[in-house]
């Protein structure tokens, strides 16, 4: 088996790399930014090419082998034309979050006509990545937005990002209406890349929802999105993300987040669509007394593969983090949770807890949990728990004896199971939104 793979891999890798090189070369003319920006892109692409698509021998991607699941990087999607935008509009309406200010990205390009930029109040500044990269005045900003890590998919994104939103919320500003960033894919058999940036100044508060959806007839696309998030000192951010991609799409979303001192971040990640979806969040609690709450649910069926990977880095003392994840896996789905908690040597009094629970509904379903603790400070309280199992037969029997159909009994238990994670969303509107999203999964399952 190993021998077969060892033989197969170099060739696959070579093929994938050739494809990627072609994709990067072909896209050159369409990537905004010249001079220093172009250098950053070229270097990022080199970094990507050195390792290629992540595979199972790369520890962080052990359970999500993109060499198998993606095979190679598809050509860059064309900018959306009028018909694509029309189809996108329908999808945006479906995904809309009531009362929110929409910022829409279609196939990796900002769509001003579908967005509500005009409704933005004072103290909130939204630019597109294209504007930032093409204006020489914001050189420092460009470097910040394109900051990167050693992860291959983020490097690839740095090289290929065509557009995105760059949002700055001024110090002390409290957003009255939530921002809703909607990523729409209208394309087929193509890839798109966005890079966004969200900065909350000190003491600012806001709510940001991010949706990943597909327009009618879009299929087989690859989305790769990165967002850099800076939460200033004493600021507060509620952030919810929902992935509801087309059934055969690949979507890799990364977030690099830094949380300032005594700031609060409440994050929720949901996956309920797509063939291969992955969230990877690298969260640094950089200021003393920061508070983090990350919850998430993966709702899978058929052959879906969903992966939520988190690294929570307690880099300052007195920080608190709570993580709570649930996966419901039906059909031949596969859910992956990897959560690493790091407590740095001077992060004394760190308090971290992580729970991941998987519910398997069929004999083909699979759940892989990898919670990790990496502790270098002694005065800490860190713990994690992971469970996986099926529905409790005795509970099903109890409900059945009280006249519930098997389907209803199952649904009731699953809703209760998911509830534990959804309850962690601090904002009531977001909580309702998340619940309504889970209902769509129940409907699709029936």
């Amino acid at each position: 088996m190993d021998l077969v793979l060892a033989k197969a891999m170099p060739e696959d890798k070579a093929n994938a790399e050739r494809a990627a090189s072609n994709v990067f070369a072909a896209a050159q003319g369409r990537l905004p930014g010249a001079g220093r920006i172009a250098d950053i892109r070229a270097r990022a692409f080199e970094a990507y090419e050195r390792v290629g698509l992540p595979h199972r021998r790369v520890e962080e991607w052990k359970y999500t082998d993109l060499r198998v699941l993606m095979r190679d990087v598809l050509r860059l999607a064309e900018p959306p034309d009028a018909s694509a935008l029309r189809r996108a509009q329908a999808a945006v309406e479906q995904a809309a979050f009531e009362g929110a200010i929409k910022l829409v990205l279609v196939d990796g390009m900002f769509a001003p006509n579908l967005s509500d930029v005009a409704k933005l109040g004072k103290g909130v500044d939204v630019q597109t990545l294209r504007e930032v990269l093409e204006s020489s005045a914001s050189d420092a900003m460009a470097g910040l937005v394109l900051s990167t890590t050693t992860d291959a998919m983020i490097s690839l994104n740095t090289a290929m990002a065509t557009d995105g939103v760059v949002v700055t919320i001024a110090e002390g500003k409290a957003l009255r209406r939530p921002l809703h960033v909607i990523h729409v894919s209208t394309t087929s058999s193509a890839s798109h890349f966005t890079r966004s940036y969200l900065h909350l100044g000190d003491g600012a508060h806001g709510t940001v929802v991010e949706s990943f959806v597909s327009a009618e007839s879009a299929c087989g696309y690859q989305a790769n999105n990165v967002m850099i998030v800076l939460v200033g000192n004493q600021a507060g951010l509620s952030h919810l993300r929902v992935k509801a991609d087309a059934a055969d799409a690949v979507n890799i979303s990364s977030e690099i987040i830094a949380v300032g001192s005594r700031a609060k971040l409440n994050l929720f990640d949901m996956i309920r669509g797509g063939a291969v979806s992955r969230y990877q969040d690298f969260i640094t609690l950089a200021g003393e007394g920061a508070e983090l709450c990350v919850n998430g649910v993966n709702l899978l069926m058929e052959k879906q593969h969903a992966d939520t990977t988190l690294v929570v880095d307690h880099a300052a003392p007195h920080c608190v983090s709570r993580q709570n994840f649930r996966a419901v896996v039906d059909g031949a789905g596969r859910s992956v949770f990897q959560g690493r908690i790091i407590a740095r040597p001077d992060a004394q009094k760190s308090d971290a807890k992580l729970t991941m629970r998987a519910l398997l509904l069929s004999d083909q379903a699979e759940a892989d949990n990898k919670p990790e603790l990496e502790i270098f400070a002694d005065d800490v309280k860190c713990g994690h728990g992971a469970t996986s199992g099926g529905l409790d037969e005795s509970l099903l029997f109890y409900l059945g004896a009280r006249g519930l159909s098997e389907n209803d009994a199952q649904a009731l238990l699953i809703r209760a199971f998911l509830g534990e994670a959804i309850e962690g969303i601090a904002n009531a509107n977001l909580r309702d939104f998340a619940t309504s999203q889970t209902e769509r999964w129940f409907k699709a399952r029936r």
């Binding site: 502790i375 309280k381 469970t387």
Partner: protein, 498 residues
């Protein structure tokens, strides 16, 4: 309280850097030429007058080893090992053929006496006194196989075991006396194509213990092997094979020490356990190789592959380990739960101090129906050490009704050490129920304050908390070992308090 006070006294007696077993025995030994090649493998095989199939098997392992590179995924760091700078075989030079224990080189006998290991057939180990009215001491006999560098020097209680039908002898002897049995089972749990260090062991293993318990027999006494590295620049590569036939039961203990030296020595052992229908194997280890001095110089590199195969229905394998020594520990005793209703257990205490690095844990592979496993791991990191738990629990599609419960807790003493937990939980079956929990914390200030306020010293208080922390695992050790292990733990943590 008594235990706590004894612990403190013990610490007071031993200064910093006191490794009790760090002496060296000066005896002449017979070594293979330095370095590793096919010739070395042939040399060892010839020394042991092994049959042809075994030499072939070793050579196959050696060739497999050549195709591999050293694994780097573990959280341990050490300078490259020069595999050509090691003696792969060292045996005390026999003065004449031995016919009884009295003819063993008195230097070696003295060594084991100093270590507290009775090679004469005595019944009681240090620290255990028969309780008044308790079981008669005859029931607490322990049969010992003593391995000195590359060879076994003595095995006690052979005759009595033979009466019960139990085969307990050095594996080199078993290869000569029971070649069919060895050939049938050797390498069936850890094949020649296993990991890097296991391949190396398969190629050059020199001795170790062999145990066969026939069907329906409950082994009348504890079996034990004591490993001692003595010679300079040598590696120790022992191979242990334990087979519990249908309905049998055996409890096996293993202990290890080495002289105190500035160089690092390699220890790459392989242990294979096979439990057939309704059989039970209990395997306990107290590992106390030289851990290096307070600056992190010297110490044993301990790269060990231990694996048990619950081949039969209703079989059970239980691993208990107390890891206090070695500069580097890389060890994952695992259970392959193949038989329906089989059970695997893993109880571990891993203590690291000074510059020690421990990367240890277990793997539980659930293959059969209604298999269950339990993992309890307690890690204590002190000084500048790194202590990692790495574990895997997996259930495949056919493992209907598999169950696992894992608890791994880490305790940090001091702010220069690190404790990490890396579990992998893989469920491919909806009827498998897996639970994993882990915590990392330090000794609570409140608890220490409470104890001190009631008249205990700081050391006593810490020792009390540590003893409570690891009690769950200590209880799983056979009594003779539990007492010794508890003392060992207090010494390992010495200097880390206050």
């Amino acid at each position: 309280m008594v235990a706590a006070r004894e612990t403190v006294e013990r610490i007071a007696r031993t200064g910093v850097d006191q490794y009790r077993y760090g002496f060296e025995t000066l005896i002449e030994s017979d070594k293979a030429p330095k370095g590793l090649s096919e010739d070395t493998v042939r040399f060892i095989s010839a020394k042991k007058s092994e049959p042809g199939w075994l030499l072939e098997w070793r050579l196959q392992a050696y060739r497999c080893w050549l195709t591999m590179t050293e694994p780097t995924w573990a959280r341990v760091h050490y300078p490259n090992i020069d595999y050509q700078d090691i003696y792969y075989y060292a045996a005390p030079k026999p003065k004449k053929p031995l016919s009884s224990i009295d003819e063993i080189d008195p230097e070696i006998l003295k060594t084991y006496e100093k270590l507290g290991i009775p090679l004469r057939e005595v019944a009681i180990l240090e620290g255990v006194e028969p309780a008044p009215g308790g079981e008669p001491s005859a029931n607490r006999k322990i049969a010992i196989d003593a391995v000195f560098d590359s060879v076994s020097v003595a095995t006690t209680f052979k005759a009595e075991l033979k009466k019960a039908g139990v085969i307990f002898m050095p594996i080199s002897e078993a290869i000569r006396e029971y070649p069919d049995l060895v050939q049938k089972y050797l390498g069936t749990v850890v094949p020649v194509s296993d990991n890097f260090f296991a391949r190396l062991n398969s190629a050059v293993f020199s001795d170790g213990s062999f145990v066969y318990v026939p069907p329906g027999v409950r082994c009348p006494m504890e079996l034990s092997t004591y490993f001692r590295i003595n010679e300079r620049n040598t590696g120790q590569f022992e191979r242990t094979l334990i087979i519990a036939d249908k309905g049998s039961h055996v409890s096996y203990l293993e202990g290890c020490t080495a002289p105190q030296r500035d160089e690092n020595q390699l220890h790459a052992a392989v242990v294979e356990l096979v439990a057939l229908d309704d059989a039970e194997i209990k395997y306990s280890t107290v590992q106390n190789w030289y851990p290096g001095n307070s600056e992190g110089k010297g110490g044993i590199y301990n790269f060990v592959t231990k694996r048990g195969d619950c081949r039969g229905k209703h079989s059970k394998i239980s691993w208990t380990q107390v890891e206090t020594g070695s500069a580097i520990t890389w060890k994952y005793p695992s259970c392959i739960l193949r038989g329906d209703n089989s059970r695997g257990e893993f109880y571990s205490i891993a203590i690291s101090n000074g510059f020690q690095q421990v990367d240890s844990g277990t793997k539980m592979f659930h293959l059969g129906k209604n298999t269950s496993s339990r993992v309890i791991s307690k890690g204590i990191a002190a000084g500048k050490s790194r202590n990692t738990y790495r574990g895997l629990v997996s259930a495949n599609r056919n493992a209907v009704g598999a169950r696992n419960h894992t608890v791994c807790d880490s305790l940090l003493i001091g702010d220069k050490c690190g404790a990490h937990t890396v579990p992998y939980v893989e469920a491919k079956n909806s009827s498998a129920t897996f639970e994993h929990e882990a915590t990392t914390s330090k000794i609570s200030e409140d608890v220490l304050f409470y104890c001190i306020q009631r008249g205990m010293s700081q050391e006593e208080a810490v020792s009390l908390v540590v003893n409570g922390f690891i009690k769950e695992v200590l209880q799983k050790l056979p009594m003779e070992f539990a007492v010794e292990a508890q003392k060992l733990i207090s010494i390992s943590l010495e200097g880390s308090v206050g």
